[in-house]
Symmetry: C3
Subunit: 144 residues, 3 copies
């Protein structure tokens, strides 16, 4: 386990309201870039008109895509922002969604279109978090 | 997308423990009113003896009710507090619950009775968040 | 309902990256002890190679064990840290996981082995939270 205190001073809290048709990952990535985040965490709730969930297949070392082409409630969006090996903004978002019958589904968030809103609370820390490419999995893993 | 920094100064963190028989939404709404929150976010976990989940039907523009009249674990409660057009406290809570077989269910939290506890961490921001009624959906949507 | 403000001053934010093979609860408990936490909350995401979920049976007053002996995505980990009646560190963790087909499962986190990573953001409050054994359920319940 690696651990690090990323804030002893004040953190900034941002509230975002994504709008109908917004591409969730694109909007969050653009915001992180504009604001120059070097470490942040976020939670969110709302609804999507369409979502693609990812399950990381440990044998193939690839994400399987689970497509839900329907209106779903976003029950929880949990994630963080760090910088990758190239200094680019790297988002790690996991999501749980609820379907019409109330059943919950989820995975790594690969794609999602907002409808009518996604409320995201983003807490920005005065630190720099890095993600490094892991040779075994090919994934960029957080190394605080 | 709309965005806003709601805290650059210190935020207050409140820890709440709801008790057996508590009506979750009523208790949270009363607490928000007593404390005079104008912007807050919360997460929670615990258990309910009964819960009604909502799925927003995009055609009918109404919530479908999914009633679970059984003891469930509260796996995540994610939400925020803002003021609506009339200046009243407006809670937006989404929940994931776990049933006896471990399957997860969830939706917009419409009703829930606590048993034996619901632990809620509520972070209050020194800002004012507003929700405005959206003419298309009839929903009160966050407009930071 | 009991409530308490646990932070009006600055809180410390810790970012932890658990590693392959880590026993999640042991690592979190050890970290809480080393750091001397008296009140904290956490959220997390990542993946497990194996997890045991708990559902509290209200009749028997015991946890039923739901074992998932397979790779799962950790969609949300929500919990808090307090001190129990003996002054020991008491973790209350609830988890939602996603299986290969995208279905979500969850419960009280009884056991979990990390693979390849579990990212946990832990916010430490300058207060002391206590959990007391409840005579009806036998559970240690938060009493802020």
């Amino acid at each position: 386990m690696q651990a690090r205190i990323v804030a002893e001073a004040t953190e900034n809290t941002h509230v975002l309201a994504l709008e109908p048709g917004d591409d969730t990952l694109e909007v969050l990535r653009d915001y992180a870039r504009e604001q120059g985040f070097t470490a942040a965490r976020f939670t969110g709730l709302g609804a999507f008109s369409r979502v693609v969930l990812g399950y990381f297949d440990w044998q193939r070392k690839e994400y399987e895509r689970i497509e839900l082409d329907e209106q779903v409630e976003v029950l929880s969006l949990v994630g963080d922002v760090a910088l990758d090996d190239d200094g680019a903004f790297s988002l790690h978002p996991h999501v749980v969604v609820g379907r019409r019958d109330g059943s919950a589904w989820g995975g790594h968030l690969l794609e999602a279109v907002v409808r009518p809103i996604l409320e995201v609370v983003l807490v920005e820390s005065p630190a720099c978090l890095q993600r490094h490419r892991d040779s075994e999995t090919g994934l960029a893993l957080l190394r605080p």
